[in-house]
């Protein structure tokens, strides 16, 4: 601001000395004039800028829209840019799961038509499970030494389960005798869809899941029970149920584990499952095999591209109105 001083009386030209407050000739009030001048000059200056505060009375109308309006708006802060091949790799989780369902259905059809003997299924299933267990055991005892004593418990549990299932097989066989086959096929399709939708595809951070994996596993086991009840021979029923438990309860754990182990293993496993499902179904129905192959190609190659393409329509808005996430410290025991 410019310092204003009045050195002369405007009426008679008297020159003020430093201490003079009034004109000696005409009583002109020097201080008051100075104050008036100061006020008028500050008023002609710009209004004080608008402030985003409610407790001060500001010289602006209530519907004033300031230049700072929506300054704190943030757009798309949480958006990650996806890389095509990473997404393709991640999509293997889904194609693996679909393949495993398709393989299970193929196994059932082969059993139903008598092309596959129950003995072969039971033996190969058990052998693969044991190999898988040894594999798992080796790696987990490396990271968790307290695991040692659990082996005996696991073996006991496995035997108990084996025997129970064997005893239950005749009951399972006749469980849905009064229900028409059409109902069973329809229900099975719905249950496998539920299994596919609710399966826990995430690999890490499994603390915050809305639908636990158990819902998906239960749906699959229920579907297997329904399918098994269509079979004629006790050993077939037992074989299919054993396979179902290995395939839907234990195999996902193995798959998740391979994925965390290395990307190569994961790709290899995906390819094996894909080839297995295709060959099994080629004997059953060419049309379904082709649909399956096209579906897997769509999921693995087209969907990632689609996802990346659709990212540009993403519009996330954040601002001070968002509910804050309280940050708590982990409780120290």
């Amino acid at each position: 601001m410019v310092e204003i001083t009045i050195t002369y009386c405007p009426f008679d030209g008297y020159q003020f000395s430093e201490e003079d407050t009034k004109c000696k000739f005409c009583d002109f009030d020097r201080r008051r004039a100075w104050n008036l001048l100061k006020n008028s000059s500050s008023k002609s200056e710009k209004k004080p800028p608008w402030r985003k505060l409610l407790w001060i009375k500001q010289d602006y109308p209530d519907d004033h829209v300031d230049d700072t309006f929506l300054d704190e708006l943030q757009k798309n802060v949480n958006v990650r840019a996806y890389d095509y091949w990473t997404v393709v790799m991640e999509s293997t989780v889904i194609s693996q799961h679909i393949s495993s369902i398709v393989i299970f259905i193929a196994v059932f059809i082969d059993l139903f038509w008598g092309r596959l003997s129950a003995q072969n299924l039971i033996i190969s299933g058990t052998v693969l499970t044991i190999i898988g267990y040894i594999f798992w055991d080796k790696s987990i005892s490396k990271t968790d030494p307290a695991y040692e004593y659990k082996r005996w418990k696991t073996a006991k549990g496995a035997v108990l389960f084996f025997v129970t299932l064997l005893g239950l097989s005749p009951i399972l066989k006749t469980l849905t005798k009064d229900t028409s086959s059409d109902t069973i096929w329809a229900l099975t399709v719905i249950l496998f869809l539920a299994n596919m939708l609710f399966h826990d595809y995430g690999s890490e951070n499994r603390t915050n899941i809305k639908f636990p994996g158990s819902l998906s596993t239960n749906a699959a086991i229920f579907a297997s029970v329904l399918l098994a009840s269509r079979l004629e021979v006790n050993s077939h029923v037992f074989g299919l149920m054993l396979f179902a438990v290995e395939w839907f309860a234990l195999f996902p754990i193995f798959r998740r584990y391979t994925k965390s182990l290395s990307a190569k293993f994961n790709v290899a496993l995906t390819c094996i499952l894909f080839i297995l499902a295709t060959t099994l179904f080629l004997y059953i129905s060419n049309v379904i095999a082709i649909i399956y192959v096209l579906g897997i190609i769509f999921i693995t190659f087209a969907c990632p591209y689609w996802l990346i393409w659709i990212q540009k329509y993403k519009n996330e808005i954040h601002g001070p109105w968002d509910e804050a996430r309280p940050k708590l410290q982990p409780p120290n025991e």
Binding site: K52, L53, L54, W55, I56, P61, D62, D63, V65, F69, L70, E72, L73, E316, I317, G319, P320, W321, D322, E323, A324, R325, P326, K327, L328, Q329
Partner: protein, 444 residues
């Protein structure tokens, strides 16, 4: 002078920020010579027409309540009785309150069909991410696409509403809430001299940051032995708080009052030295202003509109994080102990900052402004609704068109000239008599 109808689901006997706002604003507008009625839904056996202090007329319309006093959205069910009330009372401005209230949304739609001036006050903040807010925002966009003016309680709330309902910001005014300063006088004699008391008064729900409170109380009690807590309010998170008290053996330091009646709030607040607000989202937070008015130093999380409400010497901000909040509270305790802050002086300052007469004056300016606007013709209204979205726009147009036809039908079935006009409450006379009675009391 206008005849104003305030419409909201939330009114006395329910208690909260919106209810208080409606009541105080209506009283002040009545004092300024307007005629104000309130339309709300029935509460229990409280149905029909009631008069409150100073002849404030309240219509309790029978309506089904679905969730926390919000009514079932029926779109047209409310129209016949609403039209009747509007015509009986010769209303010309309809003022809806609170986005949660379906009664308010319906009233805005019908009032517009009947050619009234309409404005709306938004009292809360909303996110954009979860399903319920997406639905709410769509409904809000529908009602606010044809409105004269919107009032928000803070600048943050204004930004939020403008984004949610896709409004022009020039159509939105910011008018804060206020306090009745005479009801919140500081009373240093009520404070405990041996302890520093921290008061928490809010609903005990997640949105009010109760998880933070649970984490913070034991840590503060540990470092400061001469501090105690008084917690007023009730809600699902009370169990967590009580568990925290059990676990840390703080029965003599943490006191629960349960839900506090509105007239008791003052006596609870004056017991404390510090008011703690741990909200995760807040449009205005009237509780903080009331506390400061009672002479308490405020500690609050810096969320939503909170930073706009109080000057820096009355409030200590913290991030919504455990560590930061503990530090802020400890700082406040130190300030009280060393008398760095003199909260008892806050009362006079707050009295100047937030008064209902000021709010009423500013609201009146909004009414003046919308009074000068032209009511849009039917075609223009259809055009506005049509712009709401590819599908939503068409659905909204249908809803509006049916509403118009329904109105014509009502006009034919119950013609306007057959509806009796309710005599206005003689407010000036009433007030004069009241004053005379007061004088008589003083004389005798």
């Amino acid at each position: 002078m206008y005849n104003i109808a305030m419409v909201s689901d939330f009114f006395y006997p329910n208690m909260g920020g919106v209810e208080g706002h409606l009541y105080q604003l209506s009283l002040m507008l009545t004092q300024r010579g307007h005629k104000v009625i309130i339309i709300t839904h029935s509460y229990g056996n409280r149905t029909g027409v009631r008069y409150l202090t100073n002849g404030l007329k309240v219509y309790y319309v029978p309506h089904m309540v679905i969730y926390s006093e919000a009514t079932l959205p029926t779109i047209y069910g409310f129209f016949p009785i609403f039209r009747n009330i509007i015509l009986r009372e010769r209303i010309n401005i309809v003022h809806g309150h609170q986005a949660f209230s379906s009664l308010c949304h319906e009233a805005i739609l019908h009032a517009r069909t009947m050619g009234m001036r309409v404005c709306f006050t938004d009292h809360s903040l909303f996110g954009f991410a979860d399903a319920s807010s997406i639905l709410m925002n769509k409904v809000l966009k529908f009602t606010l696409s044809d409105i004269d003016h919107v009032i928000c309680v803070s600048n943050t709330s204004k930004e939020n509403t403008v984004l949610r309902a896709a409004l022009t910001p020039q159509m939105v005014s910011v008018i804060p809430n206020a306090v009745v300063a005479s009801q919140f006088k500081p009373d240093p004699s009520a404070q405990d001299k041996n302890f520093i008391t921290i008061v928490v008064a809010s609903r005990l729900v997640y949105r009010k940051g109760m998880d933070l409170l649970v984490a913070v109380i034991p840590r503060i009690c540990k470092t400061e032995p001469k501090v105690r807590f008084i917690i007023g309010g009730d809600g699902p998170k009370r169990i967590d708080l009580e568990q925290m008290r059990e676990k840390n053996l703080l029965h003599d330091r943490v006191e629960f009052l349960g839900s506090v009646m509105h007239h008791e709030v003052h006596s609870v607040l004056t017991k404390g030295h510090i008011f703690l607000n741990t909200s995760l989202t807040e449009a205005f937070c009237i509780g903080m202003v009331e506390a400061a008015c009672c002479g308490l130093l405020v500690v609050s999380t810096k969320v939503g509109g909170v930073p706009e409400v109080l000057p820096r010497h009355m409030i200590i901000f913290s991030k919504p994080e455990e560590e930061d909040l503990v530090n802020a509270v400890l700082k406040a305790i130190k300030m009280i102990r060393l008398k760095e802050a003199v909260p008892t002086k806050f009362h006079d300052e707050i009295k100047e900052m937030y008064s209902w007469s000021n709010v009423a004056e500013r609201t009146e300016k909004v009414y003046d402004k919308i009074w000068k606007l032209k009511t849009p013709p039917l075609m223009e209204r259809l055009r506005r609704y049509y712009g709401c979205g590819i599908w939503a726009g068409k659905i909204f147009c249908i809803v509006m068109a049916v509403d118009y036809l329904f109105w014509r039908f009502l006009e034919w079935l119950f013609p306007t000239d057959e509806i009796d006009i309710a005599p206005a409450f003689p407010y000036q006379k009433y007030r004069k008599m009241f004053q005379m009675a007061d004088e008589d009391d003083e004389n005798s």
